[in-house]
């Protein structure tokens, strides 16, 4: 159980941290010219595609798309080469995207547009007799901060790390009391000469230790396996991780006392975890959500936690940047923490 989370993170991160590539591409080349071959070669070189097949008919295209065998189809019309070399020619390329998988399709389109742009520039250079350096200056220069190498892992693994901590702690905490209750050993626990506070602390300690240990393990792993840096202060990260852990622990304990069985506890954790997931901005940015949801996001601890993780790992942010999030976590932690303490103690008594 200890290493399950780490293993999972490793596998998931490995599978998801590669750029989209090897998308099956189908080509119908009705021109069979030097120009059309150039297009095909350029498409191959992007690395986004893997040539699935060269076909001769539209039926084959229909079949492949229906079966979901390809993500995109390029149709090079006859006369393509002609239209490029003659002045006043209008070169056209037809693209069919498999919309049934929108994420690869968007990426495929991006790659195709890139290739078209490049080749288009070459055509212009020829037609105008310019030098390629001249045209280069017409493209805005693009800099990507915090993730210069555009490593996919930088996008996904910090978020996965943050979420793993939440799920691990929530799950173990939620099982803490619901397990005892279900097995009927809760009464035994309560007749022992411990105060309810001592019982709570006793139950929390293993969760805290496992959670924190897991976090350190996962952090080390993504650092070494995926080269994710820790640009900010490691100490700050660990301290905040501990703080966040306590917040989720509180939530988990409340779940564990309101559930009568572990099954219930688990389903509640799943639901709550999903709500949190939605607000962390892992997949979709919170800015795009309706205003109401954006405001709610601020009271979800995981939202601030993810920002902190990304900030410290990738941006090198310090407390000067992160203080609003830390403050929010602290306040939420106090509220959730005291509420859960009161509630749990009352439930136990």
């Amino acid at each position: 159980m200890l290493f399950g989370g780490v293993l999972e993170l490793l596998l998931v991160a490995w599978a998801t941290s590669r750029p989209i590539s090897n998308l099956p591409l189908m080509i119908l080349d009705q021109d069979q010219s030097a120009a059309s071959r150039e297009i095909v070669t350029a498409l191959e070189k992007t690395g986004t595609f893997s040539l699935y097949a060269f076909v001769q008919s539209f039926d084959e295209i229909q079949d492949a798309l229906d079966r979901g065998k390809v993500n995109a189809v390029i149709i090079i019309p006859s006369g393509f080469n002609e239209s490029i070399v003659t002045t006043g020619g209008q070169p056209t390329l037809a693209v069919i995207l498999n919309g049934a998988e929108s994420i690869p399709a968007t990426e495929a389109l991006r790659a195709i547009e890139g290739v078209t742009r490049e080749i288009g520039e070459k055509i212009i250079i020829q037609k105008l007799g310019l030098k390629s350096q001249d045209l280069a200056s017409f493209n805005p220069s693009l800099r990507v901060w915090f993730n210069e190498s555009l490593s996919e892992a930088y996008y996904t693994t910090p978020a996965e790390l943050a979420l793993m901590l939440e799920f691990t702690v929530l799950l173990f905490a939620a099982l803490a009391f619901s397990r005892e209750r279900e097995l009927g050993t809760l009464e035994q626990l309560l007749v022992m000469p411990f105060t309810s506070l001592e019982i709570i602390i006793g139950k929390s300690i293993p969760v805290i230790i496992i959670g924190f240990f897991d976090f350190i393990l996962m952090l080390t792993m993504i650092h070494f396996a995926f080269d994710v840096p820790v640009r900010g202060s490691l100490v700050l990260l660990l301290v905040l991780a501990f703080g966040y852990l306590l917040v989720e622990l509180g939530k988990g304990l409340v779940i564990s006392v309101i559930s009568r069985t572990q099954h219930q506890a688990f389903l509640l954790v799943l639901l709550i975890g999903m709500v949190d997931f939605m607000f962390t901005g892992y997949a979709a940015p919170v800015e795009s959500m309706p205003k109401v949801l954006q405001t709610i996001a601020n009271i979800i601890p995981a939202h601030h936690w993810l920002f902190i993780v990304r900030g410290i790992l990738l941006k090198g942010s310090g407390l000067d940047i992160l203080w609003p999030n830390v403050l929010a976590l602290a306040i939420l932690g106090l509220i959730i923490g005291s509420a859960s303490l009161i509630y749990v103690r009352r439930a136990l008594d």
Partner: protein, 377 residues
Amino acid sequence: MSFRHLWAVTKKEINHILRDSYTLFLVLFTPTLLLLFMAYALTVDLKNIPIAVVDYDRSQISRAFVHQITAGQDLDLFAHVESMDEIEHLLMKGEIKAAVIISPKFSQDLFSLQGVPLQVIIDGTEPASGGFAVDHIGLRAEEFINDVLKEQFERRGVSLASLQPIDLRIRTWYNPSLKPRNDLIPGLISMVLGMPALSVALTMAHEREHGTMEQLMSTPIGRTELLLGKIFPYLLVGLTNVILIPALAMVWFKVPFNGSFPLFFFLSAIFLFAILSMGMIIGVFMRTQAAALALSFLLIFFPGFFLTGIFFPIASMPEIMRMESLVLPGTHYAVITRGIFLTGIGMETLWPYAIMLFGLGIVFTGIAVLFFRKKLG
């Protein structure tokens, strides 16, 4: 195999579930709630992405440029700032996702065809918004620059239809607007319908944990009957959801359904058979519910989310993960679901996946029965 025995186990399991109405509610509606939350989380249309601009040129042209870029709902001009320091600060705070820096010679260079001194900086920590910002800034910038350049070229006697001579005619099949919603939601549906498998793992481990397994063993009920009897109620739950959830998706999210529903129902039943038996295996191996939980998250939930090709294309995964995704029922079911919802294909195309699912179900059930005997024999 005696059906009387099978029915006895099923009845007991159903009673067990019904007595605990709280859990029943959760088991029945978790898939629906999950779908709702996840659909909202993952299919938000990107818009209002905040960006900042530093305009060192301050000419009419540069102002028009900024205006063009921020027109519409996609990008929000968060601030017009004066320096790189402010940009850096805003990026660090995450208040902007991208910044555009217009150099002082912008209009000058543009008119004299020297180039376009423009810099775009994007926040590389968030995959979606950064890329979106770049795409949109790039698109708008290109349009703008094209217009200006065309005019300038023409003044010099060079007629240029466009700076991008190759005309791309793009058609998107099955999902013309390429809204992620339309294909992600069927994908989510396929994932969410498999949730009862987790409950199956739990209920098996439950008996072991409470020590009631031995009692069951001493009755004349056979191993296979016990296993199948335990699955059956969850199969029913699953099938109910097979009807409810697509209905919800169509009504609430306006997802199209272009195929045949009876076919979908039939194939879903086979899927449930496969994935519930996966849950069975976990339940057979684990002695406590906590362990069954952890393992089912590990083997069913997370792979179901990440490795089934719903969000991340399988073609892009490393070889090993691709092979692993093949043994996940979710992978094949995702193809089936997408196919029926979006593409409208039928059995003649989907039969290989149906066979695959059935085969997986048989294998998993076989493994579960085999190890069940060994563990408790």
